[in-house]
């Protein structure tokens, strides 16, 4: 059966319901398998259940599901992205709380602020992914410490013009990510 021509012929509502059927089918056939895949990766049942829900809600956001040939490969590709993001966020959250616990109490942020900060830090970390360490550090010092190019240069023992190249390179890298 040629599903493409059928889809072209039907109206949007029917297309939507066909999509829901596909998701339904994906869920029924593979949810246990995906759950055990996630559990193996995470070592935690609750997190695995959360990530599985995230995976399927991402699947639901896809426009076209009519062309999935390898359902498990398709699901693991999506789940892997979600998993990496989850681990990154968890790592950042732990590191940030650890950093905060070293600060005086008066500076403790509210829960809401904390959520927002961790979200922001996770995004930044993701955006800086793949940059060499010295370029990453130069960019972070400039953005967060507000020190001069010359100070960064002396910390890294490089010339000021190199520092400017680093900052420009980091910016371009981040823009391409966004």
């Amino acid at each position: 059966m040629n599903t493409t021509s059928i889809h072209q012929a039907v109206d949007a509502d029917t297309a939507l319901s066909a999509k829901n059927d596909t998701v339904d089918e994906l869920y029924r056939s593979h949810n246990l398998w995906l759950m055990s895949w996630l559990r193996r990766k995470l070592g935690c049942k609750h997190d695995a259940a959360d990530l599985m829900q995230d995976t399927f809600s991402r699947v639901l956001q896809k426009d076209d599901l009519s062309d999935i040939r390898e359902p498990r490969a398709f699901l693991t590709t999506i789940a892997h992205g979600i998993l990496v993001n989850h681990l990154r966020r968890r790592d950042i959250e732990n590191a940030y709380l650890m950093a905060l616990s070293q600060l005086p109490e008066a500076e403790s942020p509210s829960t809401e602020t904390l959520c927002m900060i961790i979200e922001a830090l996770t995004k930044i970390d993701e955006m800086l992914d793949g940059l060499p360490d010295h370029i990453r550090s130069a960019f972070l010092w400039f953005q967060l410490e507000g020190i001069t190019h010359a100070e960064i240069a002396s910390r890294l023992s490089v010339s000021v013009s190199s520092v400017r190249q680093y900052i420009a390179k980091a910016l371009l890298h981040c823009i391409e990510f966004a």
């Binding site: 940030y96 650890m98 950093a99 905060l100 109490e105 829960t111 959520c115 922001a120 400017r164």
Partner: protein
């Protein structure tokens, strides 16, 4: 991405670096304005620069830096673990909690040497080979070394309580507990030893203990029941009176008698995985009663029914005790 956009982006980043270098003059800034107005593409490129740099505004600089500017191996440790499928380590991270994990990372030899250990929130009772009783408080590590001459415990971290067993006179072996700061020699007795805040502390519940700081060989102090002393490697502080209810933890309880909330929460946080803090505005509230230590969530809940406070949790790693919000009247 068409080449023209790439040009605009390159120019935009060059402009950003130049404008923030501290060397740009007013006339440079006018040139930049002209560049910006020259095309819609330039303007879009500039917006992209600002959307990246804007992500950094409003962040706590020091804490954010210490998170984002960690060396690569530390930042990605968690991914590597995952890649190696070292699930055991990940679950350990959660079992011992973040503070325990840090100690684990920084003092790996402790784990290797310890004969008995407890996780955060765990209290463990042990009977030693001579019949002495040993209780380990939360997050504690002890090494045991018994030979013909001595009964020796080395406290590596945390807190222990000991009830020494009586021995036949002819076979008497001194019972000694050492920490990195010094030693406590039991004279047939009940006592506790704790490492805390770069000091060690010995408190005596029954009979007497002799305490020595490790670098001051000539000086030692004899503690009787109801006395405690703090010491570092080279300093013994003055003895102070000691409340015997302080050993309630060995039964899994904390006994508070008009205890300031901050002290109470600090004490409770030793048993709590993650950060547990008390808002300064309610630090002075006082609390009395006996509360279980091994289920900190339940204890906090019951405290919130006694005092005008509320417990705010953000994941299991972050708990703040705050003033209760007033009910709208």
């Amino acid at each position: 991405m068409n080449p023209k956009t790439t040009d605009a982006l390159n120019s935009a980043t060059q402009w950003y670096v130049f404008l923030t270098s501290g060397e740009a003059t007013d006339s440079d800034r006018r040139d930049w304005q002209d560049w910006l107005k020259a095309s819609a593409e330039n303007e879009r490129a500039w917006q992209k620069v600002e959307s990246v740099t804007g992500r950094f505004t409003g962040l706590d600089n020091k804490a954010s830096l210490s998170v984002l500017d960690r060396p690569k191996h530390e930042r990605q440790a968690i991914f590597d673990e995952q890649r190696r499928r070292a699930i055991k380590h990940l679950s350990l991270l959660f079992m011992v909690g973040t503070s325990g994990w840090l100690a684990y990372q920084h003092k790996p030899w402790h784990g290797l040497m310890a004969d008995f250990a407890t996780a955060t929130g765990e209290i463990k009772h042990v009977t030693l080979q001579d019949g002495s009783k040993l209780v380990l408080n939360t997050n504690t590590k002890v090494a045991v070394q018994f030979d013909k001459q001595y009964r020796h415990l080395q406290l590596l971290q945390g807190e222990i309580y000991i009830e020494t067993a009586k021995q036949p006179v002819e076979q008497h072996r001194p019972f000694i507990v050492t920490t990195e700061h010094g030693s406590a020699t039991a004279l047939g007795t009940q006592f506790s030893v704790r490492i805390h805040d770069k000091q060690s502390q010995v408190g005596v519940f029954k009979d007497a203990v002799e305490v020595k700081a490790s670098d001051v060989s000539s000086h030692s102090v004899r503690l009787n029941a109801g006395e405690k002393v703090s010491f570092t490697r080279n300093k013994l502080y003055a003895k102070v009176a000691f409340d015997l209810s302080a050993k309630a933890w060995t039964q899994g309880f904390i006994i508070a008698d008009k205890m300031p909330l901050k002290t109470f929460v600090d004490e409770l946080s030793r048993y709590h995985t993650g950060v547990l803090r008390c808002d300064p505005s309610i630090a002075e509230l006082t609390i009395s009663g006996a509360f279980p230590l091994t289920d900190t969530d339940a204890t906090l809940k019951s405290v919130s029914q006694i005092l005008p406070i509320q417990v705010e949790s953000h994941t299991r790693y972050w708990t703040m005790i705050k003033p209760a919000q007033k009910q709208p009247s």
